[in-house]
Amino acid sequence: MTIMHAIELNNVSVRYEFDVVLEDINLTVEEREIVSIVGPNGSGKSTLLKTIMGLKEPFAGTIAVFGMEPEKARRKGSFGYLSQQSNYDSVFPVHAFDVVAMSRYAQCRIVEKLSRKDRSIIETSLARVGMSELAHRSFGSLSGGQKQRVLIARALALEPKILILDEPATGLDVVSQDSFYELLRQLRDEANLTIIMVSHDIGAVSEIVDRLACINRKIHFHGKPSECAPDEMIAKVFGRNIHVVRHDTNCPTCRGE
């Protein structure tokens, strides 16, 4: 028997209309791995995440998630997804709690009812992102960063096997980012989560990720961050003339100290 990978993509190619945006992607992610996907704007990072979850059909290649078709994995609630979308309807009449509860309802079979366990999962998820106090505020009235935290809590509340995070640090302040990365590490260690996230901040994530995948239509590098010759890599993926801001989490000015 072969070892079961958390995620396995074989020769996957994806297009929108006639634009091929991902070409011949081979990628495996093991259980309990934290993988960061980096690449310039429009390089296909978000598309890759959607393809893994079966939200976007590839025109070639195969995808397996714990040996299952992505659609089946979705039904079982394997993916906790934080999308990049940020244009939420600001008057949508839900509380932060209701937003997180959506994940629990999504997995109901027929009747939608929150058990005591469901409620405690929702409360724990809110607490993990420090949003317990604002649980009964209207979602639309929260700040951008607070909304992002609630949406992260919603992804956690599904109790997924795989967390798929599209630019999760967007809107989080530096201190929150640190504790967020710490939370990810903790989730991986305690709940055996596999985590894939898109990030533009290579410096910050390199401390917690096991592997980096640099993509720009194709996968240009997939391996341990320490093995990646960073400058050469960045030049190859982003082009020589693009200046990548490297963020140092130990920088006092960034922390507002």
Binding site: R74, Y81, E112
Partner: protein, 266 residues
């Protein structure tokens, strides 16, 4: 008052108001939060083509309108999901096409004189027991559908991609919701007319949204609002000797306007 209820036609009209009040109070929430107000009005107009088809082929126009509208509603959403068309453009095209088709067919079938007044404002005082039965039956299916799936529909409305990735069967829910939308609109068109239908898909939830920021409250207020405007408008129209449908629209819009003003003064 009691002599009003002694009359069959008034009693039927009153029951119809209650049934439609419950239907639109709930439906409106999804139409407004999904920003489909235009689809609601679009379907009501599309029904015209469906009615004309029935007249042309000599079958009961109610059923042709129902089928035609359900198919159009689903077709429009499928097309917009595929990204080929923006929703308002899609609805605009369907809407114009079926109105024109209807006009064409009715002209071709020369013998038929079309009751425009009835089409615009319906005739709630001519509601038959059969109409009530059909409306009641739809409500009987719609209520359990909403009760079972409301949170998943809410999730899908809020962000469809994450709902899908979390395991919600969005394609089925979407189709079911649109089928209900079309069915409710076609049924109520005959009773209250196209103008009131267009008002009923947007006013209840808009009113609820002025009063509260939570979906449970918005739906509850929407139902209360619709019941009050429809039953109130009916009684009022009787005493003022005005057309019931038009009275309801004016009353509902006035109530919404007052809620806005009161809210602004708070």
């Amino acid at each position: 008052m009691s002599e009003l209820f002694a009359m069959d036609f008034f009693r039927n009209a009153f029951f119809a108001s209650i049934l439609l009040g419950a239907l639109f109070g709930i439906l409106s929430f999804f139409v407004v939060t999904r920003k489909m107000a235009f689809l609601g009005a679009g379907i009501a107009h599309t029904a015209f083509g469906g009615v004309a088809l029935g007249v042309f082929f000599g079958v009961n126009p109610f059923w042709t309108a129902l089928i035609f509208c359900v198919i159009s509603a689903i077709a429009i959403t499928k097309l917009t999901r595929l990204g080929k068309l923006t929703p308002d453009a899609g609805i605009g095209i369907f809407f114009a096409f079926s109105m024109a088709l209807g006009a064409l067919l009715i002209k071709l079938k020369k013998a038929y004189t079309f009751d425009l007044q009835g089409y615009l404002f319906g005739n709630i005082l001519a509601v038959t027991s059969c109409d009530l039965l059909i409306t009641g039956a739809v409500l009987l299916f719609f209520l359990p559908f909403i009760a079972l799936f409301i949170h998943r529909i809410l999730f899908m409305t809020f962000d469809v991609e994450v709902a899908m990735s979390s395991g919600v069967r969005t394609e089925y829910l979407d189709t079911a919701l649109f089928a209900f939308l079309a069915a409710i609109i076609v049924i109520s068109m005959k009773i209250v007319g196209i103008i009131l239908v267009s008002a009923l898909v947007v006013l209840p939830a808009s009113f609820g949204l002025v009063l509260t920021k939570n979906f449970r409250g918005v739906i509850a207020w929407g139902i209360i609002f619709t019941l009050c405007t429809m039953c109130g408008g009916l009684v009022l129209s009787f005493f003022m000797d005005t057309p019931p449908g038009a009275t309801m629209v004016v009353l509902g819009t006035a109530a919404y306007g007052i809620s806005l003003i009161v809210n602004a003064l708070k």
